[in-house]
Amino acid sequence: MEKSKLNNLMKQIQKDRDEMAFSQIFDFFAPKVNAYFIQNRIKFESSEELTQEVLSTVWVKSHLYDSSKSALSTWIFTIARNKKIDFLRKNSKINFKEEDIREFLYQDREIDLIEENEAKKQIERINNELDEQQKIMIKMNFFENKSHKKIADELEIPLGTVKSRIRHILTKMQEFLT
C-alpha cells in the first residue's frame, strides 16, 4: 500500500474514529508486526498477543501520531519495539527491581525533530548507497537484533567478515545520518 494512502487512513481514524480505515491499517501492518516479533525470537502465541497490543495502541493513541514528523511505519515500529522491550523485561530470568527503568524510557511518544523531506531524502540515500547485502545486514543486526555470530551463520560468511562489514556500513552511514 502507498504511504500516502496509509496516511490518509490514519487521518480518518484521528478525525472520525473511522473503523473501516482502521481495519485497512490493521490488514497492512498486523502481519508485518507479527513477523517482526517472530524475527526477534518471540514465539507465535506471544507474538500474536503483542501484535494485538501494538495495533490497539495505534487505535487508542492515534492522537500521538503526527504525519508531518514521521512516516506511519516509523511510529508503529517504535510502538512494536517498546512492546518487545517490555515483553523481554517481564520474561527475563534476571530479577528486575520493582520498576525497571526501561519501562518508562521506551514510552509511546511523538517522534520529533525530523522534517518529512529530510527523512525522505535520507531513506533515498540509504537505498542508493547501500547494496543489497549491506541492507540485509542492517536489517538482521538492528531490526531483527541477531548476533553477529547468527548473521555469519545465516549468510554463510566468516564472523570476522560480518564484523568488519557492519563496521564499514556504520562508518558509511555517518555521512547520511549526521
Binding site: K3, E19, F22, S23, F26, D27, A30, P31, K32, N34, A35, Y36, I38, F44, S47, E48, T51, Q52, E53, L55, S56, V58, W59, V60, K61, H63, A71, S73, T74, I76, F77, T78, A80, R81, N82, F96, D100, I101, R102, F104, L105, Y106, Q107, D108, R109, I111, D112, I114, A119, Q122, I138, K139, N141, F142, F143, N145, L170, Q174, L177, T178
Partner: protein
C-alpha cells in the same frame, strides 16, 4: 573505530532496543539533552520503520481488527517522565559519597553488568591521569569539564576505552555533574595512581 561511530552505535542500539537498563537510561538521557543525537536517533528509527514497511507478512491466526479496538489495557494518556529525575530524584538531595576532596559519586541501584553513576566535581577539581579497563561513557548534565581532547558541556558525551589516558578538569566557574557508565573499573596512573588502584580494588569487594 572513531568517536562518532561509537556514539552512533550507542544511538542505534538504543533505537533497536537492545541495550541493558543502565545503558538505556544513559542513552535516553543523551538523546534528551542533545538535539543532534536525538535527530540521528529519529533518522535511524525511520530506517527501521522502512524495514517494517517492507517486512514479510506472517499473519496472526486468531486476531481480528475488532480485537484491537476494545483493549482496556492500553491507556490513552502517557505520563512522560525525565529519566534522570525519576531514577535519582533531586540531585541536590542525594547522599553523595566523597571519593576524594571535590570529587563525589552516587551509584544508581540498577541490576546490570554495567555500572551507572552520577559524578560531581567541584569547580577546578581534576581527576588524576587514568585509563580504563572496559569502556567508560560520560554525559555532562550540568556545568562542563575539559581534558586533553576538548571541552565537554551539557549534552556532550565522551566515550573512553583502554587506549585513552586523560586528565579531566571541571570548569573553574561551574564544576560539573555527569552521568557515567563504566564497564569495568578504571586504572589510575601517576603520583596517587597505585593508591587509587588499590582503593578501587578494595572497593570491588564491597559491591
Amino acid at each position: 573505530m572513531n568517536g562518532t561511530v561509537v556514539k552512533n552505535q550507542l544511538i542505534f542500539d538504543f533505537a533497536s532496543g537492545i541495550l541493558g537498563p543502565a545503558k538505556s537510561l544513559f542513552a535516553s538521557t543523551y538523546l534528551e539533552l542533545n538535539s543532534d543525537a536525538s535527530k540521528i536517533g529519529s533518522k535511524f528509527e525511520n530506517m527501521l520503520g522502512e524495514n517494517l514497511m517492507d517486512n514479510e507478512n506472517i499473519h496472526p491466526k486468531n486476531l481480528k481488527y475488532t480485537d484491537c479496538m476494545n483493549n482496556k489495557n492500553i491507556k490513552p494518556d502517557s505520563n512522560l517522565k525525565d529519566p534522570v529525575t525519576s531514577l535519582f530524584g533531586n540531585l541536590n538531595n542525594l547522599n553523595w559519597k566523597q571519593v576524594y576532596k571535590g570529587f563525589k559519586e552516587y551509584a544508581a541501584s540498577i541490576d546490570d553488568k554495567d555500572e551507572l553513576k552520577l559524578i560531581k566535581m567541584d569547580p577546578g577539581v581534576s581527576v588524576p591521569l587514568h585509563s580504563h579497563g572496559g569502556k567508560e561513557y560520560i554525559l555532562v548534565l550540568e556545568g562542563s569539564f575539559c581534558d586533553e581532547y576538548g571541552k565537554y558541556s551539557r549534552g556532550d558525551i565522551q566515550i573512553n576505552d583502554q587506549k585513552i589516558k586523560h586528565t579531566p578538569i571541571a570548569s573553574k566557574d561551574t564544576g560539573c555533574v555527569c552521568l557515567s557508565i563504566t564497564e569495568k573499573d578504571v586504572i589510575f596512573f601517576g603520583k596517587y595512581g597505585s593508591f587509587l588502584n588499590l582503593f578501587t580494588f578494595i572497593k570491588s569487594f564491597f559491591k
